[in-house]
Structure formats: C-alpha cells, structure tokens
C-alpha cells in the first residue's frame, strides 16, 4: 500500500506530469504523420530521456508510444495511408467508413477502443507481471536462452514476409551484435582494427538508422501523399458507448489477443492488429460486411494493438527481453536509469513499478481529450508538407545519435543502418527482426555460452529442465510453423476451387 502511495507521489511530480503531457502531444503528431512510426517516435525521444529523472524518462516513452499507436489511425481513416504499421490492418475498413460519411464514428472508434485496450492491457500487466516474477526467479541461463530465442523466432513469424528472409534478417542482427569485445574471451571480434568498433555497435544508432533515416530515404523515393480535404467533424465520441455494448464480445477478444501477442517476446502491436482483424472477420456474424465500412473489426483491432503495447512491457520488465521494437528501446532506457529489468525489480523497486502502471493508465485516460483535439487539428497537421518535416527528422537523426555518446562514429552508423534498413525493406527483409537481433544478440550468446560451460558442453539441460523444455518446444513450433502453413496451403491449392456465390 505504501508502495502504491509512493508510486502516486512519484508520478505526481511536476517534471513527470510535464513529460507525460509533452510526449503525448509529440506522440500524437508523429504518429499521425504517414511514414513516421511509433517506434521512430520513441527512438528519437531517447536522447531527451538522458536528461530526465528515471520515472519521467519512462513516462515519455510510455505516453509517446501509446499516443502514436492511436494517432496512426487518423491518416488511415482520412487518407487511406496508415500513420503507423499497427494501423495498416484496418486502414481500408476505416477509409470505407469515411467514404460512407462516418469519419467521426471511425475515428471515435479508434480513439475510444484504443484507450480501453490500453487500460485493459495495463491491468493485465499489473496482474501478470508479479505472478510471472515469482516463476522467473527460478529461471537459469537455459531458460533465458530459450526465452531470447523464442523472442527472436516470434519476431520472424510476425513479419508479413518470407520466413526465410525474416530469419536471415534476424541472423544479420545477431551477427552485428557479435562485433566488439563483449564476448566470452573478451577479445576484439570482427572489429577490423577499428577502435570505434571495440565497444560494439550501439543499438540506438542502429534503431534510428533503420526506423528514422530509412523513412527519410523512402520519402525521397516516393510520391507525395494526396492532400487532405478540409472537413468539419461532428461529435467524435457520439455512439461509442452503443458500439461498446453491441461489440462487447469482439472488444474483449481483441483485448485478450492483444495482451497475449504483446506478452510474446518479439511480437508487437502490428501483429496484434492483423491477427485481431482477421479473427474479428472469422468469428463475426456478418463477415460479408467487412471491408465495406463496418466498425466491428475496428473495435477489435483498435483495442488489440493498444492492449499489446502495455503487455509488451511484461517480458521487457521481467527478463529484459523486448516484447516489441518499442520496448527494445525502452529496455535500454531502463538500464540507463538504474531500473535494471529482472524479477527483483518488482520487489526492490515496487514503487517505481506502481508509478509505471499509473503512468500507463494516466496516458490512456488523457488520450481521449488530447485525441479529440488531435482529430480536429488533423487537417492542419497533415497539411504540413513532407519537405518541411523530413529535413528536421534527418537532423534529429544526426543530433540524436551524436548525443548517445558524443562521437561522430554514431552518426556514421545511423547512415550505414539507414542504407541497410532501406535496402532490406525494399527487398522483403523485415527490419524489425534485424533490430531485435541486434538488441538481443549479446544476451543470446551470453546465456548460450554460460549454459554450455555449466553443462560441460552437454546440450541435454537445454531440453530436460521442465520450463526450458516447454520453451524449447514452443520455439521449435515457431520454427516449424511456416513449413506447416506452406504444406497446408499447397494442399488446399491442389484441391478444385470451391464454387462461391457471386
């Protein structure tokens, strides 16, 4: 109880409240601009968090990412261009509603169910994290190894791309993490005699390059999005309560799916939205209405992607394994601020954990008024020409990377990873898998080598300990899943096509 009060006191400090408000506005604006994703918003925030108190630093990341995931719905609904990848699953549906003259309803649905999903996801975090922390205390390097590998496998599964290419991306990330002296022998590895490489590749410049610089590059290679027609909005929140009652069951399903996908290491909001939208269509009583401007899928997927955001912090806080690309960044900030992830975080720093929960709830509550303002201002924000935004993003890439270590080498790394990310994306190699590989590489290697040394080079303890056995089985399933899906697809394809009523 004392911890809870202490948590409230921590959040109630002026700098934290200002950080929440400012980063919320920042998240809303960045998320609503097409091409600028929630991950990018978070990556560019990191240099700012260096100078904040620990709680304020975490607060900026939580509020900016939650707002960005919601506001990605806005251009999706109005322009048919998803603002963030997490909105892509239902962009067509939302745009169809706009064409039917129901833009308010579609945007309101996105806003209301984002907030509901965020709050329910937070509650799941509150309930699950301490319970899992008990279990996690028994984990040894074998279990950590499998958890990390499972996270990497999930990252390859969620990519809507060739699984082979996704695994290749992940391996590339792991290879990058091999660079430097942090290895079992402490010897310089793959450094080519460069002193700058001795410390290894910092994840942040790589993230900024892959997610932010490559976006500036893409902007130069593509056409301008169409201008947004001016429109007057009616009441945004009207009818949302009725929708909540009608689609109560899909909403809960969306929340639960979002929570599960969020907890899975490596899988995040994008995946949650795609799965939930597909599920909603599959189990709907009126699947034929999907795609014609039907709010049911929006309810389910909108709740799902925000729910996954909060539960994605479960593996991040407990094991230091990112639940998605956003928490991959957050973990770095947690370490920097002395909130080292691990099960003991919940016993030794309980008040900070309560503060974190409170920030989540608070961010999802203020999302509603701020979101309404944002929707009304969207016409102006979306009118800002790319020619004025992209140069600023480029400068923020340079300065942000420089700020991480005050050296120019990081700036070069941003350029390098920007090119890598751009070329990979163009050729169907998912970049999220690359990034998770870079972030988790040293953990995978360390737990693997430690385990091997402990077991005297025997691989048996990797599978015969109860928890590690289960984790190994899930990982194997994740690896074999694409093969199964491929076989299944081949079988159905050889069958004669079903007669469908036109």
């Amino acid at each position: 109880m004392n911890d809870l009060l202490e948590g409230f006191r921590l959040v109630g400090q002026m700098d934290v409240l200002i950080a929440i408000l400012a980063s919320s506005i920042y998240g809303l604006v960045v998320g609503s601009l097409p091409g600028l994703s929630a991950t990018m918003a978070t990556a560019l925030l990191v240099p700012v968090t260096f100078y904040l108190s620990p709680i304020a630093a975490v607060a900026t990341i939580i509020s900016a990412s939650a707002m960005a995931i919601f506001s990605g719905d806005i251009p999706g609904c109005l322009l048919r261009i998803p603002g963030t990848p997490a909105s892509a699953a239902y962009t067509d549906e939302a745009y169809a509603m706009t064409r039917k003259g129901q833009a308010e309803l579609a945007l309101g649905t996105g806003l209301w169910f984002s907030a509901v999903g965020g709050i329910i996801g937070t509650l799941s975090l509150v309930v699950m994290a301490p319970l899992l922390a008990e279990v996690a205390l028994n984990f040894s390097s074998y279990e950590y190894f499998w958890l990390a590998v499972l996270g990497l496998m999930c990252a390859t599964l969620v990519a809507r791309s060739s699984p082979v290419k996704a695994i290749a991306s992940m391996l590339l990330g792991l290879l990058v993490s091999c660079i430097g002296m942090e290895n079992p022998a402490g010897a310089p590895r793959f450094t080519w005699g460069q002193p700058d490489l001795l410390g290894g590749i910092e994840p942040l410049p790589a993230l900024v390059g892959v997610f932010a610089l490559s976006e500036v590059m893409r902007a130069l290679a593509t056409f301008d999005p169409p201008p947004l027609p001016r429109r007057k909005f009616g009441s945004i929140m009207a009818g949302q309560w009725a929708l909540t009652k009608i689609y109560q069951w899909p909403m809960w399903r969306g929340n639960v799916i979002g929570i599960i996908i969020g907890v899975l290491p490596g899988a995040g909001a994008d995946m949650a939205a795609w799965v939930s939208y597909a599920m909603s269509k599959r189990f709907s009583k009126t699947p034929e209405k999907f795609g014609t401007g039907h709010p049911e899928g929006l309810v389910e997927a909108g709740a799902s992607n925000n729910a996954s955001l909060a539960s994605g912090w479960v593996p991040a806080l407990l094991f230091g394994i990112p639940g998605d690309t956003i928490t991959a960044i957050a973990i770095g900030v947690l370490y920097m601020k002395g909130l080292n992830p691990g099960p003991t975080l919940f016993t030794e720093r309980a008040s900070s954990m309560y503060a974190l929960y409170i920030i989540f709830i608070l961010a999802n509550i203020i999302m509603i008024p701020l979101g309404i303002i944002m929707i009304r201002l969207a016409a102006h924000v979306l009118r800002a020409p790319r020619a004025s935004i992209m140069p600023i993003i480029l400068m923020l890439c340079a300065v942000g990377a420089f700020a991480t270590g005050n050296n120019m080498f990081s700036v070069l790394m941003v350029g390098f990873f920007g090119v890598v990310g751009y070329v990979m994306e163009r050729n169907g190699y998912p970049v999220a898998a690359l990034v998770l590989g870079i972030v988790m590489g040293s953990m995978v290697e360390q737990s693997f080598v430690t385990s091997l040394i402990k077991s005297d080079n025997s691989l048996l303890p990797f599978i015969d300990r109860p928890i590690s056995g289960v984790l190994a089985a899930i990982t194997a399933g994740a690896l074999l899943w694409p093969v199964g899906a491929w076989l299944l697809r081949r079988r159905t394809r050889t069958r004669p096509p079903l007669q469908r009523p036109a």
Binding site: F50, M395, F402, G415, V423
Partner: protein
C-alpha cells in the same frame, strides 16, 4: 534499391562464409571448449543456409505483395519521382558530409546545408526551404545545446545566444 533474390541470397551466403572464417580466427579460451568462435560460427552457418534457401526461392510465396495500398477504384497511383532510387541515398550521404565537415564548419551552417538539400529534393520552393534552413538548425541547436547540454560543434558560427 530492388535487387533480385539471387543477389541478396548470394550476398548472404558470402557474408555467412566470411563470418564462419572470421570466427575460426578467434582466439580460444584456455581450458575451455566454448569460446568466442561458437556463436558467430552458428550464425554464419545459418546465414549460408538462409542464403541458399533464398537462392532457391523457398518461402517466396509468403511475401506480402507490397506495403503500398492499391489505388481505390477510379484512382490512379501517381508515378514515383525520377531517379527515385538514386535520390534515396541523399540522406545517408548528407550524414557522411556532416561527420566530415561539422567539426570545423560548425553545427549551424552544416545543418542549414543539409536541411536545404533535403527540402529542395522533396520539391519545396525556396520560399519554404530557405527559412526552414535557417530556423530548423537554430531550433534544434537551442534544444540540444542549451536544454540537453549536448556539445554540438560550434565551428565558425556558434549559437548566437
């Protein structure tokens, strides 16, 4: 830069080979079988395997057609700009430019050049690009140097306040 699966797959095989070779050069840890070479060897072998599978176009059917949303009926997709593939490499080249000249030219002039180039490349008029090239670096420098205390290079033109 759209490359064929043959090129990217071949590159991965080569990179995997280099990784395995590089790993074999790593010094061992005395009295211990697992050293710094184990992990890169496994990754290298994995990359070779993936590269070969990509060369054989395994898993190609899983690739989503494209992230670009198809045009709505009755709407034509505008053509991408000319030299799109070359233009895309302007931003990383500008970052190289930044690392080369920022230390003696200073943050403000270097950033102004970069902002101007990107804005003009994106089709901004001079009316927008010039004020942006003056104001954006000033704003960023103020936030990062004064508030966040990042030592950006002063060069020939320090921040006036």
């Amino acid at each position: 830069m759209q490359l064929s699966d043959r090129v990217t797959g071949g590159f991965l095989v080569a990179l995997g080979g280099v990784a395995v070779y590089g790993a074999s050069l790593q010094p061992g840890v005395p009295g211990q079988d697992v050293g710094p070479s184990v992990f890169p060897t496994i990754i290298g072998l994995g990359l070779i395997g993936c590269g070969l599978l990509i060369l054989l176009r395994v898993g190609h059917s899983f690739e989503a057609p494209d992230d670009v949303i198809p045009a709505a009926p009755g709407e034509a997709l505008p053509q991408p700009p000319r030299f799109a593939e070359i233009r895309a490499f302007i931003p990383p080249l500008l970052l190289v430019f930044y690392t080369l000249v920022a230390d003696w030219l200073g943050f403000l002039p270097t950033a102004a050049v970069m902002v101007l180039v990107v804005a003009l490349a994106l089709g901004a008029r001079w009316r927008l690009a010039l004020p942006l090239a003056v104001l954006a670096p000033l704003g960023i420098a103020t936030i990062f140097m004064k508030l966040l205390r990042v030592p950006l290079p002063d060069g020939i033109l320090p921040l006036p306040w």
